[in-house]
Symmetry: C2
């Protein structure tokens, strides 16, 4: 049955050298020029503040992009899942940090084996813990795997997110000491990410939230070090707050992901002058497939094409008088209402560009990212980038 000659794989919706206007829809497209400017700005920012950056690959899930970030100065990559680490390792990435809790026995054994493999290639695996049980299970998996290469372990503390992590202070000290007693685990420092602060809309709210986080981290670090245990690194932060962690003198490493693509939700934040001018670099190309004159138009990108957990996408690049508002039309449709002073709807068949509400889960819906050089109006397809860890959940 697979012999149908024109059963086109999805990635053939674009071919190298193709003009951007001929890419079939819906498609997830990277403006490579904009992405490279974002990488350059991040590298300059980290250099200026003398902090390391370990960008979060949960965003792009691509070994090609990970290696590109390393060439710009990134020191390894964060992931959230063992299977994401495996997928990036298969693509040649050797410094990986699972910045999350891993409890499942199968997953821990896989992580232990991956740690040995990465070490054999000159790299390193790290993982976060927030419980004695988690430490014991990880230590047992490392023992079973039988490697002496070891694994770096960060103690996760909750600095305001209200998700994983032990409380700052004595609980973190106790857990760090537990880690330090385990022969194959190297206590590597503190994981302290405040996810909830990234999308606080005003600059002052974000500043205050991170000031509290920084205080908690500094106190906890001092407590652990006063007990005789060095804290090699504090790692955390994201695109929304990185100006504050970078300036804190406490965080030694930043974990932003979204700076690479910049979704619509981040553009709703009040910008801080110290923040690099990151640009939108990820777009969904879509086509108008139905027009009801005087009412609305419908495009072929619904929430199977882009994630809507952080709000609807923006319709990009239209002159203000022809602005459109995207409303949820279900899994396969977007409904477009005119939002400018002129009540003109786009023509049937017209191609439009959307900026997704949230980049990370949008990328996870696609097998490939179509890299365009020369802009969305006149560019051509330069790269088709595989999303290696698409669907990597375990």
């Amino acid at each position: 049955m697979k012999s149908i000659p024109d059963l086109l794989p999805e990635h053939l919706r674009a071919t190298l050298g193709q003009r951007v206007d001929l890419i079939d829809t819906p498609a997830l497209v990277i403006d490579l020029d904009a992405m490279e400017r974002n990488i350059q700005r991040m590298a300059e920012f980290a250099h200026k503040h003398q902090v390391r950056w370990r960008p979060h690959a949960k965003l792009h899930k691509s070994s090609e992009i990970a290696l590109r970030l390393e060439r710009a100065g990134a020191r390894g990559h964060c992931v959230q899942k063992v299977s994401e680490a495996e997928a990036l390792a298969a693509g040649g990435v050797v410094n990986l940090y699972i910045s999350n809790q891993v409890l499942g026995a199968t997953k821990l054994l896989r992580a232990a084996r991956l740690a040995a493999q990465l070490a054999a290639r000159g790299g390193r695996l790290a993982v976060a813990v927030d419980s004695d049980e988690g430490v014991a299970r990880l230590a047992e998996a490392m023992r079973v795997a039988g490697s002496d290469a070891g694994i770096n372990v960060f103690v996760e503390i909750d600095v305001g997110q209200g998700r994983c992590g032990v409380a700052p202070g004595p609980a973190a000290l106790a857990l760090a000491q537990t880690v330090a007693t385990q022969p194959r685990l190297q206590f590597a420092g503190l994981q302290a990410y405040h996810g909830g602060a990234q999308h606080l809309r005003t600059a002052v709210d974000r500043r205050q939230a991170i000031a509290r986080a920084v205080q908690a981290v500094a106190d906890t670090r001092a407590l652990i070090e006063s007990a005789g245990l060095p804290v090699p690194l504090v790692t955390g932060s994201g695109t929304g707050t990185l100006v504050h962690e970078a300036a804190s003198g406490v965080y030694g490493e930043l974990q932003p992901g979204s700076f690479l693509f910049m979704d619509a939700d981040y553009s709703r934040n009040e910008r801080e002058s110290a923040q690099p001018q990151f640009e939108h670099a990820l777009f969904v190309k879509t086509q108008v497939i139905s027009v009801r004159e005087g009412s609305h138009a419908v495009c072929d990108a619904g929430h199977k094409s882009h994630a809507i957990d952080s709000g609807m996408p923006l319709v990009w690049g239209l002159p203000p008088e022809l602005a459109l508002r995207y409303a949820n039309g279900g899994d396969e449709h977007g409904i477009l209402y005119h939002a400018g002073p002129q009540s003109r709807l786009p023509a049937l068949g017209r191609m439009l560009w959307l900026v997704p509400g949230h980049c990370d889960p949008t990328v996870n819906l696609h097998d490939h990212l179509i890299g365009v050089r020369g802009g969305l109006l006149n560019g051509v397809v330069e790269r088709i980038i595989r999303v290696d860890a698409r669907g990597a959940l375990t």
Copy 2:
């Protein structure tokens, strides 16, 4: 780099015969017994009302499930995308209806070729239209493809959804006549789906919405037939309203999809006595990876594991006194608060079951559905079902 021996493909999180408690998490699991009861109930319902059923494969995206539905009496399958039709055709499905607007030139040419291939296998392709431009483009694609087998064409009318479709009445008549003039297009009837009515919470609201839709369809059909053009079939409906379309005497075919799995959002509808007792049959298995005593627990399934566009998942199968409420914890986490009279959180490492808020986009996040026989407590893995059209967007 691909030689890493333990780089486990995601689908190996479960193996045939494995006990359900050993399936790695997060995983999308079908309770096969419940699904088969849902299929049986739907078949009996359609038989009783003497209507055809063409279930919507946008839900399951699987040729294996499509063929299983056919064995129970389904007459072909709806899809929303040309690439979904191609993926199911590659798995042996030959009667397919793209119940959506297709405007792109590449997609139309693929549809035209697929129409010829399905006809050669004794099947048939159908598509919906809602514009003269859409009809002209489809006719041109059929001419270029050069097949004489033809394609069935439904005129889509908007019966309250406010999305695609022409207005009922004269606009529908004019479009039907345009279709009828085209040599390779066979006017097959009316597409009349009221998506917005499916999730109206009260039975009376749904009944009234569909009563208006039925009137619009009946009037439009009478108008077209009075102009001398037979209307072979009216097709539409969904799981939330099928009792009304089935009893209408106007709809000859039902297109429900969700009855197969029944998501959390449908369970929030007031049930009508005439509706079959469909059960939840699709679950996300997840593990507790972090516990903050006195506050909350965290599980390893976030909205990269299940769609949250229609609300949060339900935590399934717990006794009422230990009930948990799932709150959004981001892409990779769910936050669990106790919701029963006892303030007991689940233990670290505990396995839990979630009923997704919306099944269709949840299935689209996974490459495989793990089919379990014998229930979620003591069952074993019987089938690993490929989601053939996962990510099929064009």
